[in-house]
Symmetry: C2
Amino acid sequence: MSETFPSKAAEHPRPTMIDVARRAGVGLGTVSRVVNGGHGVRDETARRVRAAIDELGFQRNEVARALRPGKKSTSLALVLGDLTNPFYASIAKASLEVAGQSGYAVVLGSVDEDPEGEKRAIQELVSRQVAGLMIVPDQGDHAFLQGAGVPVVFVDRPATGIDADIVMIDNEGGGRIAAEHLLAQGHRRIAILLAPSYYTIGRRLRGFRRAHRAAGVEVDETLVVQLPEGNAEAAEKATREVMLRADAPTAIFASTNFLAEGVLRALGVLRALGELGQEPAVVGFDDFRLADMLPTPVTVVASDTAELGRSAARLLLDRASGTDTRPPQRIVLPCALIERGSGERPPGSAADRTTG
Amino acid sequence: MSETFPSKAAEHPRPTMIDVARRAGVGLGTVSRVVNGGHGVRDETARRVRAAIDELGFQRNEVARALRPGKKSTSLALVLGDLTNPFYASIAKASLEVAGQSGYAVVLGSVDEDPEGEKRAIQELVSRQVAGLMIVPDQGDHAFLQGAGVPVVFVDRPATGIDADIVMIDNEGGGRIAAEHLLAQGHRRIAILLAPSYYTIGRRLRGFRRAHRAAGVEVDETLVVQLPEGNAEAAEKATREVMLRADAPTAIFASTNFLAEGVLRALGVLRALGELGQEPAVVGFDDFRLADMLPTPVTVVASDTAELGRSAARLLLDRASGTDTRPPQRIVLPCALIERGSGERPPGSAADRTTG
């Protein structure tokens, strides 16, 4: 390969450590040792490495900075839940982009909603000397981060036990506009399905209650359904149960994207079995791919999840570089309703004949 | 916070660097310096750090290994495309899990199908001295990796210019079973939509052609549609065009999940406008969330994308640790057809009256 090297080097403008190593015919570790003082490297080898650095037009200290260990980390850590949840994937993608633009890599810790696993993952990442942490926190105390000595930005949910930056969406506002929308169409019995006790879900419920209060409508507490798990299966089961009651709700507010999927699955089954007396209005929280292509396109409360990731990464980079020394900030992004059909059904709609 | 520390330490069995730093009342950098010889640390401080290490039951060399720079990296790099594509998210999640079980972190490089960006990202990650690389390669020569001195496992597609491990799915077999399925139902005019010239797409087309040849059916080359881009919009446009031809196909094979979405959108629009003469059968490649909930549930060729990520991470860890010294391996995972309805329409089906 070495014959083709010069043309290759000309191809890409910013040569890297690998180029130096290949040019000098040594490993990366040798380049590192030469740049950091040359201990344990033969003179002839060190000369070759220095020549390669010069020929490639590198700044010596640029190489040194990149290789000298323990100095000025250029990695950020991102700790979040299941990447196959589009909500997390979108945050990860956006923060990666922003970090990359500033020359930072992102080390990922994905934890499946398990507080102990999260704590281990965070401590692991801190011991890797990242320049900062972005965390979508699980429940549980995050006071242990107080002594870590790295800036932390929480995403989507605040943590307890530590006063740090947080970038989140207006959950209460989102819950409020969902309920307002359904109330405005005359719904008076609106079920709300709640994933296990996250901060975000609690705020969405609070907004839901506020809208009812403002409209002078009492919330039927038997329609406030606390699910044992936050997945589609749990929502499907709960929807079946609530829709088979004599006093079934005329509308359902699903407080996450996965729960909305479960609601729609349950309604599809009941419809197919002819057991759905009337078609409830459905509003979801968080938009999802293909929501507009389902048999009845799904109305959702949406927010800019990519912007959550971007804002968090920008803030963290400013904290890490020391350019932002303000006290902990709270950035709140707005929510908006996207009307697509499922949320616009009036009370007492006949069940759709087509199965879905 | 320090009063509550002992109970905290008891809580989690594996204390970390942060615990040592907090116990000693110093920063992580100080712990690092003490463990690596104690240069530039006052005796009293060094004593406190060593006492903390002892009290927490740490092995000195365990701390040293975690903090001594340049030694035995415990990070893997993963370079792949857009994380909001569920295919990539699934690979990322699975490889993260496997790496995590072995105490490895994963540094992520996400590149949006841009060969130059990919090259920069890879070189960046190599210079961070990761123990190995998992790469879902873009087009372009990867010979530059030959000199990098780290093990590389390619995922989903082989790279050119380098002989390395590859974990992939049976693309040709997948293309073949999609076409066989449609041919078996009497389809003779089957359009295939192709994303830009990836290796995987080429193999799917090859399988598509083989199935035709085996059935004695000639492929109409005007129905082999090479798209300018790999997104739903390009597929939507192409589907509209091909379905409005006098000799429209009776079936469509979409060679990726995003293309399948575009096909379905185009059919929905044509149906709503009353411009769809007959309803084509549709088969997609790669399963996607909610495929079973669309107005006509979507038949797809599916593979275990999580297993792609898991296999790649396992192989890479074995290469990095030196326990696997075989020549470069090629692991091929099977594909299977999931019949849901859209792929089982016979030729000449009347257009569905409901809009979707």
